[in-house]
């Protein structure tokens, strides 16, 4: 092969048939063909989310929980608040699947009732956060300049206010109810979302297609709706998923310090708080079921949020 000092342009390749040295017919299509089928952003995100076992576990748990929250109380023969003193502290059995509590109430029924409350509080609070956050953050980021500056100073100040303290104060004054708990949770809760939306909008608004739309005289509200929001959707969904467990935790925490949802509702926090004394006397199930569902629901939202974060990150697209 390598002849020293060789003027040897032809490689030693006598074994190769001469007829191979003809011009190849160009196969145009083959060059243009894309190696893999192109997936839309959402299809691709879903494909990646499905590969994440933990996130799928969380998603399935949440779907089942929602179904049980709707059907559980209907299927059960017991009423949520019917007391049955003689039957207090029954062990879980075929009669009472999760046992009964100090007042003889069926823990199974109350658990699914609690799921309704917790999911309702969590979802509604998260949705209000998203709603306010998108409007505030969208305007702040899109308008820029002085408006943005003032709006961000306000956010900075609100951010410094310890939200749970304000929540406590509000509940003390307004009295605890489903409505006031959601109000108290959202009054500071939207700040984080507004920051995220603003960040996204700032990033996206300089992209050329947005500038193009602007130069054609597109209306601000239309540009925000049609261009900015769809692109900012990923981080918003993630933040929303992660703010549901925060609300669920806050509700349970507030029940614990006596500011929770009052009867006739049965939230998980109220159930856990009621049964604190009970476990020391050995009636573990009264605490176990609400505690398990609070923890596992938060776990499910957390792993689903993590999974969505990875799945919706365009940078990680492979």
């Amino acid at each position: 092969m390598k002849t020293a000092n060789g003027i040897n342009p032809a490689p030693s390749s006598s074994s190769i048939p001469d007829e191979w040295f003809t011009l190849k017919e160009k196969d145009k299509d083959a060059a243009e063909q894309v190696a893999r089928p192109s997936l839309s952003y959402w299809q691709d995100a879903w494909r990646r989310l499905r590969q994440n076992k933990m996130a799928m576990l969380g998603l399935i748990f949440l779907i089942l929980l929602t179904i049980m929250a709707i059907l559980g109380p209907i299927l059960s023969p017991y009423e949520v608040n019917t007391q049955d003193r003689p039957n207090q502290y029954q062990l879980p059995s075929s009669e009472h699947w999760f046992g009964t509590d100090a007042a003889g109430r069926d823990v199974f029924t109350r658990t699914w009732y609690g799921a309704r409350i917790s999911l309702f509080v969590g979802l509604v609070a998260a949705m209000i956060d998203v709603f306010i956050g998108i409007i505030y953050g969208g305007i702040s980021g899109y308008k820029g300049g002085r408006t943005d500056n003032v709006m961000m100073r306000i956010i900075e100040i609100l951010y410094g206010i310890p939200s749970l303290l304000v929540t406590i104060l509000l509940l003390v004054v307004l009295g605890p109810s489903l409505f006031t708990i959601i109000l108290a949770l959202t009054i500071t809760g939207w700040v984080g979302m507004a920051r995220i939306v603003r960040g996204q909008v700032l990033q996206i608004k300089n992209y050329e297609y947005v500038l193009a739309s602007q130069s054609f005289g597109g209306k601000t509200s239309r540009i925000i709706r049609k261009h900015l929001l769809p692109n900012a959707m990923g981080p918003i969904i993630v933040q929303m998923t992660l703010s549901v467990p925060t609300a669920i935790f806050a509700e349970a925490f507030l029940s614990f310090i006596g500011l929770g949802i009052q009867s006739p509702y049965a939230s998980w926090g109220v159930m856990a708080n009621d049964s604190l004394g009970a476990i020391l006397s050995g009636n573990w199930w009264t605490l176990f079921f609400p505690a398990f569902f609070i923890s596992f629901t938060m776990f499910a939202f957390n792993v689903l949020g993590d999974g969505l974060q990875d799945a919706l990150d365009p940078k990680l697209r492979k």
């Binding site: 100040i157 573990w284 923890s295």
Partner: protein, 310 residues
Amino acid sequence: MLRYLLKRSLIALVTLWIIVTITFLLMITVPGSPFSDERSSNETIQANLEAHYNLDEPYHVQYLIYMKNIAMLDLGPSIKQPNQTVNDLLGRGFPISFELGMVTIIVAVISGIVFGIISALRHNGIIDYLSMGFAVLGISIPNFILATLFIQKLAVDWAMFPVATWSSPAHMVLPVAALATGPMAIIARLTRSTMLEVLTQDYIKMAKAKGLSPWKITFKHALRNALMPVVTIMGTLLAGILTGTFVIEQIFAIPGMGKYFVESINQRDYPVIMGTTVFYSAFLIFMLFLVDIVYGIIDPRIKLHKKGGE
């Protein structure tokens, strides 16, 4: 740096002023508060209240007096316990809560960072999976459930630790563990993810190309950059730990401020609720301010940026 500090302290003051004003506004609207027309049945208490809040004056004068009192660190009397002021309660309860909180934050930060670094360096290894699985659990289980679990298993069933109160280091183990698990898990996850990101940076590759040892690369080049996001969430974590002390002190019967605060909520002892809220807000705002300063120290870029902290 000076400009940055001035701006930060101004924001802190405005935040505090807003909180003080909100508490005042809420209190004049709520029935049963010292500002409402209801009279306390206890003569001494009523006399104290009138002397403290000047209840005969119009609201705007009351507001100014209220502000002045707070500026002079006088948080007012209790309406449920005669001759007790909020300052008395804080004087008794806050040192204990502070101790609980500080031990918790130290435990959480140190163990969180250590777990985070190990996970990042053993990325996708068994230690990484274990500690991150543990961390997700730590974030998901509320501290009051952990606390009950600890009492039931470690204190009652296995008698490894005392059940309640706050009198020796052994008494501290369970409440601190219950309170520190959540923040520790958050710090561990954050440290891991930022560490992994930092380790892919060009300056880390450059440090490797200089022939530096892995030890030096991790601690001199990577850790400092990886810790910046951890510092920024310290404020939120501190607030979480502080509110956590409310329930933890309740569960473990620790005579701290959190316990008094929850009692005052249940008794609707409004001046104590107001005073404690204002005090805790001021404390947290001050802590946030400290965190900002620490951030300014570890990130040299802050000094030049006029819009620091963003």
